[in-house]
């Protein structure tokens, strides 16, 4: 049963079924959005058939089907795995080792700091739509999906789940998320890795506006054997703020103030600095072989998801 089937049976609007009251949140995952999710799931299966399934070999040797290696028999080993043919030929008791198959853990770390909701909150909405879409694809591929919302700590956590029928838990979790707090990726991701022993793909969905530097946060994931994937949410309007004259700017998260006289030249420099910041992030990720993808708020989320697929690295 696909997700669309679920919605065909549903009579009440999505917002009511998930107990949401805020109309802007109710429209976040509307029927149109859900139809697109189904399409994305189908497309992902067709395009990446054979290699993008949920099955995933790990470095652990275990009870899989595919032969991996031999090792000497040790007392206590299961006799069923003793390779009697080798014993017959070489007189040595060797135990057959198989590559153990396990399902992939996909973690979505959604930045819920105040800067994500800056302005009209388009960044945060785009982040949640991307998270929901990718989570649906992962659930459809029988991966274990976990979502956490992070600021300078882990604000909330959706328990690990699998199967695309659980997508509504994802919707519910994301709807409840609110952009509030200060970004500190290092602290929050340290908490994250401490809470999640099972390593896997960690998709960081954030604007990376971390006063302490985004690099530390990504490194925390790398150093703890997670496979980081950075989805950088950007709003081009932030490069060209509609400001003129004498103003006192303050950081929406930290409250740091600064008096500025905004001139056209200053705005030009601001746009250059913003682009340079994006380049810095990309340069960092590329140099450390961390898959990096820029998600523009002006681009429809389904196009972005397909681009993520084509870019690769999300699912292997």
């Amino acid at each position: 049963m696909g997700v669309l089937d679920v919605f065909k049976k549903a009579t009440a609007p999505v917002s009511r079924r998930f107990g949401l009251t805020r109309p802007e949140r109710a429209e976040l995952f509307d029927e149109d959005f859900q139809k697109k999710l189904e399409t994305l799931a189908i497309v992902s299966r067709r395009v990446f058939a054979g290699r993008m399934r949920a099955e995933r070999r790990t470095k652990k040797k275990g009870s899989g089907i595919e032969f991996a290696d031999h090792r000497d028999y040790a007392p206590g080993d299961d006799f069923r795995y003793v390779d009697w043919n080798v014993y017959q030929r070489f007189g040595r008791l060797l135990v057959r080792l198989y590559e153990e198959e396990e399902d992939l853990s996909v973690y979505f770390i959604v930045d819920c700091s105040t800067s994500m909701g800056f302005g009209d909150g388009r960044k945060f909405d785009q982040a949640r739509r991307l998270c929901a879409a990718l989570a649906y694809v992962a659930l459809a591929n029988l991966d274990r999906v976990t979502i956490v919302s992070a600021t300078d700590s882990i604000v909330a956590r959706m328990p690990t789940t699998r199967g695309k029928g659980r997508i509504f838990k994802v919707f519910d979790f994301l709807r409840r998320a609110e952009p509030s707090g200060v970004t500190d990726l290092q602290d929050s991701l340290k908490t994250f890795v401490a809470q999640h022993k099972r390593r896997g793909l960690a998709v960081l969905i954030s604007d990376l506006y971390d006063p302490a530097g985004f690099e530390q946060g990504i490194n925390v994931l790398r150093y703890n054997k997670f496979e980081p994937y950075v989805l950088h949410i950007v709003d081009p309007q932030e490069a060209k703020p509609a400001l003129r004259g004498d103003v006192r700017i303050y950081d929406c998260e930290t409250g740091d103030e600064r008096e500025v006289t905004v001139t056209p030249k200053l705005l030009e420099r601001m746009e250059r600095a913003w682009n340079e910041y994006l380049l810095d992030v990309e340069r960092f990720c590329t140099s450390r072989q961390v898959p990096y993808f820029v998600a523009d708020v002006d681009t429809p989320f389904d196009e972005l998801v397909l681009s993520v697929f084509r870019r690769g690295g999300f699912l292997r």
Binding site: V247, D251, C252, R269
Partner: protein, 628 residues
């Protein structure tokens, strides 16, 4: 340079306060508008680069302050109204006398002579220097100042626009006297006369006026002289047939060329007669319209060129007249019977005659005239004028002196309206009485034996007394008899004597009005309503427009409305040939000099422009963020 505006001490005080405030505003910073940004680290990266050039920003800010201070200085200097010292001392005081007479309505120049005069005066106004002052006055039959003596063009230009030509002559002497009075005690006095030259006898006008020391100049206006005019227009009723009237119109060609004209006479707006006349050069032609009948009350005469065109001065091609309203005179005859008297009274259809016997006197009602035939009872109220035939011994207004026999009129007052058109030399009487007039009485006719016809006033009532019974003379057989009766009645009724067919514009009109009122309402030909004073039974008004007027006087009973006409019938104004040269104070006047349009030496104007320029630069640099 001196300051003609605010005192220097005041200016310095304002400069100190305003300058201090300006600097203070630059030192104090306004609380800036707080604006949230998503990530201040990017701004810090930008502002770190900008700080390297902050010294230039500070310099630009200083430049902005200096611009503001410069602007403030210019405005303050403007308040001080700085002028070149020389210019202030040399300021002229100019009186411009603009001819507002009827000839200025001539259209030989476009749009009219008055229009050209206004253009010329405007040029003078625009050419005033900073320290010059000017007064503009219109001269017609009176002098009307239209502005004060001022250097403000904003006051002078509306004064020029207010100039209007009237239907009057020009009283140039009065205008010159006014100009001299206005310039008395002022430096560099100057009089500019703007006229077509129809100023009357200029030599007579300047006689007795001291024009020495006054700079005189003249701006001639006008070009053509083609004009034919109505220079006379009057109407009267026939004395013995007041239902009929006759009209006299005088037409004059003021041109050197002969001209054919079409003269129209209109009664109550309807054409009564149209005549084509050929006028020779400078010819004056009087035309009479005799024995006209009809109920017309208003009469108009219009003149047009025979070809359908118009001459250069339409104002004198139209004249107005009004006939007095005919009303029936109420006459009371107190007689035992007098066929000759009854016959005489039948001659005028506008008489309402009541005859009573002496024993029935007085009857009820009011009368304009009471005729006592051989009797003299005490006059009753409302008797009107009293006419006595054969004044009796007792009760008459005059006493009998002595009986006389076989006499006639040896002397009589030929100018008396009572004896108009009468020849009394052949009248012979059988007997009668010589009268004994009192001191104030007037002897109208007398024989060698004594006065026999006396007029006078008793207890406010006018009377005329005849010393004999007309039936005892051959007078009743003569034309003189009915004439005497009707002349006396006319004199008492005052219909004829109060008749004014039209007033002349440019004069003070004394319009008959019911006595007792102090003011009256006058409706002009332009339908304007004015309140005019009434003095001794006459409404007083200085009229300048030709046409029909209506005068309404509020009385105790009901409003009394009368009408009258006013005309420009001035040959002098109709001669519109402009003069190019005017001689005053023994020298020919030239055009005015020293009026150069566009040159205003008032520095404040340029300072104001400079302040506006600086303000504009500051505005531009502020909005372009060059000085912040």
């Amino acid at each position: 340079m001196i300051f003609a505006g605010l005192p220097l001490s005041t200016l310095l005080a304002i400069a100190g306060a305003a300058g201090g405030l300006t600097v203070l505003f630059y030192i104090l910073k306004l609380r800036r508008r707080p604006v949230p940004v998503p990530f201040s680290r990017i701004w810090e990266r930008v502002l770190r680069d900008k700080e390297a050039t902050s010294w230039w920003s500070r310099l630009k800010r200083l430049l902005s302050l200096l611009l503001q201070l410069a602007l403030l200085s210019l405005l303050l200097i403007s308040l001080g109204d700085p002028r070149l010292a020389g210019a202030l001392v040399e300021g002229r005081n100019v009186v411009v006398l603009v001819d507002g007479s009827a000839s200025m309505k001539a259209t030989d120049v476009d749009p009219s002579r008055m229009g050209v005069a206004q253009q010329q005066v405007k040029k003078l106004v625009e050419g005033l220097s900073g320290s010059d002052r000017m007064l503009i006055a219109q001269m017609d039959a009176s002098v009307t100042p239209l502005s004060t003596m001022t250097g403000e063009t904003s006051e002078l230009k509306p004064a020029v626009d207010a100039l209007r030509a009237t239907d009057t002559r020009t009283d140039f002497r009065r205008a010159l006297a006014f100009a001299l009075d206005s310039l008395s005690g002022l430096s560099k006095p100057e009089i500019v006369v703007v006229s077509d030259g129809a100023l009357g006898d200029v030599a007579d006008a300047e006689r007795g006026l001291d024009l020495s020391g006054v700079n005189l100049s003249f701006i001639p206006v006008g070009r053509g002289k083609k004009n034919a005019a109505i220079t006379g227009f009057s109407v009267r009723r026939y004395p013995l047939d007041k239902a009929r009237y006759e009209v006299m119109i005088e037409v004059t060609n003021t041109n050197e060329e002969p001209v054919d004209v079409e003269l129209s006479l209109l009664g109550d707006g309807d054409v009564v007669d149209i005549t084509r006349l050929a006028l020779g050069p400078n010819e004056r032609l009087a035309r009479f319209y005799k024995d006209l009948a009809g109920a017309s009350r208003t009469l108009e005469a219009k003149l047009a060129l025979a070809g359908g065109g118009r001459d250069d001065l339409p104002a004198d091609d139209h004249a107005f007249a009004l006939m007095p309203e005919r009303r029936r005179a109420r006459v009371l005859v107190v007689t035992a019977g007098n066929t000759y008297l009854e016959a005489a009274l039948l001659l005028d259809e506008y008489l309402e005659v009541t005859t009573v016997a002496p024993s029935q006197y007085p009857p009820s009602g009011n009368f304009d005239v009471t005729i006592f035939d051989g009797v003299a009872p005490p006059p009753a109220q409302g008797s009107g004028g009293l006419l006595y035939f054969d004044v009796p011994e007792e009760g008459g207004p005059v006493k009998r002196k002595r009986r006389i026999e076989m006499f006639g009129f040896d002397t009589w007052d030929k100018k008396s309206p009572l004896l108009r058109w009468m020849a009394l030399g052949d009248v012979q009487a059988l007997y009668g009485h010589a009268l004994e007039p009192e001191k104030e009485d007037r002897i109208v006719g007398a024989s060698a034996l004594g006065p026999i016809l006396v007029a006078g006033r008793r207890a406010g009532k006018r009377f005329v007394a005849l010393g004999f019974d007309p039936r005892n003379s051959d007078m009743v057989l003569r034309v003189a008899w009915p004439l005497l009766v009707l002349n006396v009645i006319n004199d008492f009724v005052e219909e004829d004597t109060s008749y004014v067919s039209s007033f002349a514009t440019g004069d003070v009109w004394m319009i008959p009005a019911p006595s007792g009122a102090e003011s009256a309402t006058l409706k002009t030909p332009e339908a304007r309503t004015l309140t005019v004073p009434v003095k001794e039974g006459r409404a007083v008004y200085f009229g300048t427009q030709a046409g029909f007027y209506e005068l309404t006087v509020e009385t105790d009973q009901q409003p009394v409305t009368s009408a009258f006409a006013a005309n420009l019938v001035s040959l002098e104004e109709s001669r519109i040939e402009p003069v190019t040269e005017l001689t005053l104070a023994g020298k020919a006047l030239g055009p005015p000099s020293g009026f150069n349009p566009g040159v205003r030496r008032e520095l404040w104007l340029y300072l104001l422009l400079a302040a506006l320029l600086v303000s504009g630069i500051e505005w531009f640099t502020y909005h372009r963020r060059l000085t912040v």
